[in-house]
């Protein structure tokens, strides 16, 4: 169909009204050659032939090429939004501008809504992320704080228990050493008594040395700085030392203690004996602690440049779950438990750590009700000469005089202290009764009515404090002197006349006895 002229011109007028077409003819250098159309609609007031079009239409810069270009929405500060068509024509260019403001605005509104929605989502996402991070940080911070607090509490408790235990453990051998040294230095001591004293001093010193080593080990282990210190040592002596420390503990519980050393074990070995001693004290100490009937034995053998040691006990045994736990993570809580038991050693977990350090192997074979066998295998080298480590103690000053006729009841489970007291008190003319635990003390006190009681606080079966209270309640009125290795402040002043702190100096004890008997 051919459009009638009037329709064509109608269409043209509609198009021109809505789109305000403007047409430039320009050359390659943007010189305006001619134009046609609605220039005022775009703010183009004084167009001039030959002038550069760029001042009016800067967007044409860079756009002239060999192909037709259509730019749908071009907005300029002065001209509003236009649709630009660039048509190359015989080395010149026709540029057609059509008003696009109305279209632009519809587009703009639609896009605006979409973008704002996207921004909202982005903000939301950020808020959620930030919230999550904050919550995460909060949880982490709280966990960290809790952890630190627990650590602090635990390490504090550990230290306190450790110090309490060590104070107690140190005082007993120290008091023995001081008193036996006093005794040995006395002018009228017989040769036999002097020798007995020296032996007791040596025994107590070795025990003390062991304790010191234990503390040092513990400290170094704690700091993670434990290093092996190998040296030559005599195996039999090591076993003797262990017996000195542990046999009395077994005897106290009425169980057997035995050591077997096989013939082929080299007499002198080169290894870290301090470490080994610590391991064995722990193993034997534990075995004794948990065994109520039967006994504990240690077998020492030698094979393939390794010391093979088995510690057997007839205790209750360890069930599999507990074995797991022992071999599992190094648990501080359990160590605190182990420490709170005086003289019990420092727990199997430390034993395992130390064995590892010695590049040895440790194993447990146990079933509930069938005892326990702990096997230890540590590498060592046969050696010839043991290294000497001497313990030198300063000699205490002595000043002693004694008299009296009264009867004194001594309640203590430390045989060395009993020996000493026997010697001094009898020499001073006192009659002496001995009780080895709290119950015995109550019995004997009520039966024989002594003039004074020396009461160790840390006694088996019934504690000294409870024994004293029972006696007071039963009407016992003579002086009761507390002998204590630990904190004296906890004692009830009504039950005890006075407290003496161990280690006890015999002259001081005699002076106190004299004072309270008057």
């Amino acid at each position: 169909m051919n459009l009638p002229d009037e329709i064509s011109s109608y269409l043209k007028s509609v198009f021109e009204e809505s789109r305000n077409p403007l047409c430039f003819l320009i050359d390659r250098d943007f010189a305006l050659l001619d134009w046609w159309g609605f220039s005022e609609a775009y703010g183009y007031k004084n167009l001039q032939s030959g002038a550069s079009i760029l001042d009016h239409a800067p967007f044409l810069f860079g756009m002239l090429g060999s192909k037709t270009e259509v730019l749908p929405f071009v907005t300029t500060p002065t001209g509003g939004t236009v649709e630009v068509h660039i048509l190359p024509h015989k080395r010149r260019f026709f540029v057609i501008l059509l008003s696009a403001t109305r279209d632009h605005d519809t587009h703009q509104q639609r896009q605006q809504t979409a973008n704002e929605l996207k921004l909202l989502h982005a903000t939301q996402r950020q808020l959620i992320t930030r919230q999550r991070t904050l919550i995460g940080e909060l949880v982490e911070a709280k966990a960290e704080l809790d952890h630190r607090r627990r650590e602090a509490e635990r390490s504090n408790a550990n230290k306190n228990q450790f110090i309490a235990m060590m104070t107690h453990e140190f005082r007993t051998p120290l008091s023995s050493i001081i008193n036996y040294a006093d005794l040995a230095l006395e002018a009228d001591t017989s040769e036999a008594d002097g020798r007995k004293s020296s032996e007791a001093i040596a025994r107590a010193s070795r025990h003390l040395l062991n304790l010191v080593e234990t503390v040092l080990h513990e400290a170094r282990l704690e700091a993670g700085h434990l290093k092996l210190r190998e040296r030559s040592f005599n195996v039999q002596e090591l076993l003797d030392d262990l017996s000195t420390i542990l046999a009395p503990l077994a005897a106290e519980k009425g169980i057997a203690y035995a050591t077997y050393l096989e013939d082929n074990v080299p007499a002198v070995l080169y290894a870290d004996d301090v470490c080994l001693r610590q391991i064995l004290i722990n193993l034997l100490g534990n075995a004794i602690k948990f065994t109520e009937t039967g006994g504990v034995s240690m077998e020492v053998a030698w094979s393939d440049s390794q010391l093979l040691i088995a510690v057997n006990d007839s205790g209750p045994g360890i069930d599999l779950a507990d074995q797991e736990r022992i071999f599992g993570a190094y648990q501080r809580a359990e160590r605190a438990d182990a420490l709170s038991q005086p003289g019990s050693g420092l727990g199997l977990t430390i034993t395992i750590e130390l064995t590892r350090l010695m590049q040895g192997h440790f194993d447990l074979d146990s079933e509930p009700g069938r005892g326990c066998k702990a096997s230890l295998r540590v590498p060592a080298k046969p050696s010839s000469m043991p290294s000497e480590d001497d313990v030198v103690l300063p000699a205490p000053a002595v000043e002693l005089d004694a008299e009296g006729t009264a009867t004194i009841l001594l309640c203590d489970d430390d045989e060395d202290l009993i020996d000493l007291a026997e010697y001094y008190l009898q020499r001073a003319g006192y009659g002496l009764l001995v009780a080895r635990d709290g119950e015995e003390a109550v019995e004997k006190a009520l039966q024989y009515s002594p003039d004074l009681i020396l009461m160790d606080i840390n006694t088996p079966r019934l504690s000294g404090a409870d024994a004293a209270r029972q006696l007071r309640e039963a009407g016992f009125s003579a002086p009761v002197v507390a002998l204590t290795a630990s904190d004296v402040r906890k004692l009830d002043q009504r039950d005890f006349t006075v407290s003496l702190r161990k280690p006890i100096q015999m002259p001081r004890l005699l002076a106190e006895i004299r004072r309270h008997l008057r």
Binding site: L54, P58, F59, F61, G62, M63, G65, E69, V70, L71, P72, F73, V74, T75, T76, P77, T81, H104, H107, Q108, Q111, Q112, N115, E116, K118, L119, A122, Q126
Partner: protein, 175 residues
């Protein structure tokens, strides 16, 4: 005085501050109101390069996008350099800028550009960590500018740097 014309496109994701940056540079003005750009907004500004040489920048502020479609490709025609804009409060706009740069390099080869990490005034909502910023510095070195169209921080400096790069290239050719 001599004057050289130069077309520069401003590209980046939506709402990163392209229009605001141009508005700050050309009219030293800023508006908090967001009015998204449709198509392209063309503006001009002059930068003095030397005492007798001026660069007339024809700035094409192109509608925000993460990828150029056919029509937008036409907008890029004949440009001498470009300004990548990202929004420091939205990490995704950084990868969008990287994408656009890759696309430009594929069609136009290496051209002078500057990278604007915009909205530096919004510290409380800033999403770019120090580590990420360091990475950007390594990636874009002296072409990276942390700007604020709102306060005007480093906007003029960034565009001056781009003008320099363009002048070097236009006058002495690509290295």
């Amino acid at each position: 005085m001599n004057q050289v014309n130069s077309k520069v496109c401003v590209v980046g994701d939506f709402a990163v501050g392209k229009t605001s940056t141009v508005e700050r540079f050309v009219n030293n003005h800023f508006s908090d109101k967001y009015l998204t750009t449709i198509g392209v907004k063309v503006d001009t500004a002059e930068v003095d390069l030397t005492q007798d040489l001026k660069l007339k920048l024809i700035l094409w502020d192109i509608a925000g996008t993460t990828e150029f479609k056919h029509v937008e490709m036409a907008y890029l025609r004949g440009m001498s350099g470009y300004i990548l804009v990202a929004d420091g409060t939205r990490l995704t706009t950084i990868s969008a800028a990287r994408e656009l740069k890759t696309q430009i390099e594929a069609t136009h080869g290496e051209l002078p550009f500057v990278f604007l990490l915009n909205k530096s005034d919004l510290q409380h909502a800033w999403e770019v960590s120090d580590r990420q910023r360091e990475k950007l510095v390594n990636e874009f070195s002296s072409e990276l500018f942390v700007t604020s169209a709102k306060t005007g921080d480093h906007v003029a400096g960034a565009i001056a740097r781009l003008a320099e790069l363009i002048a070097e290239r236009e006058l002495f050719g690509p290295q």
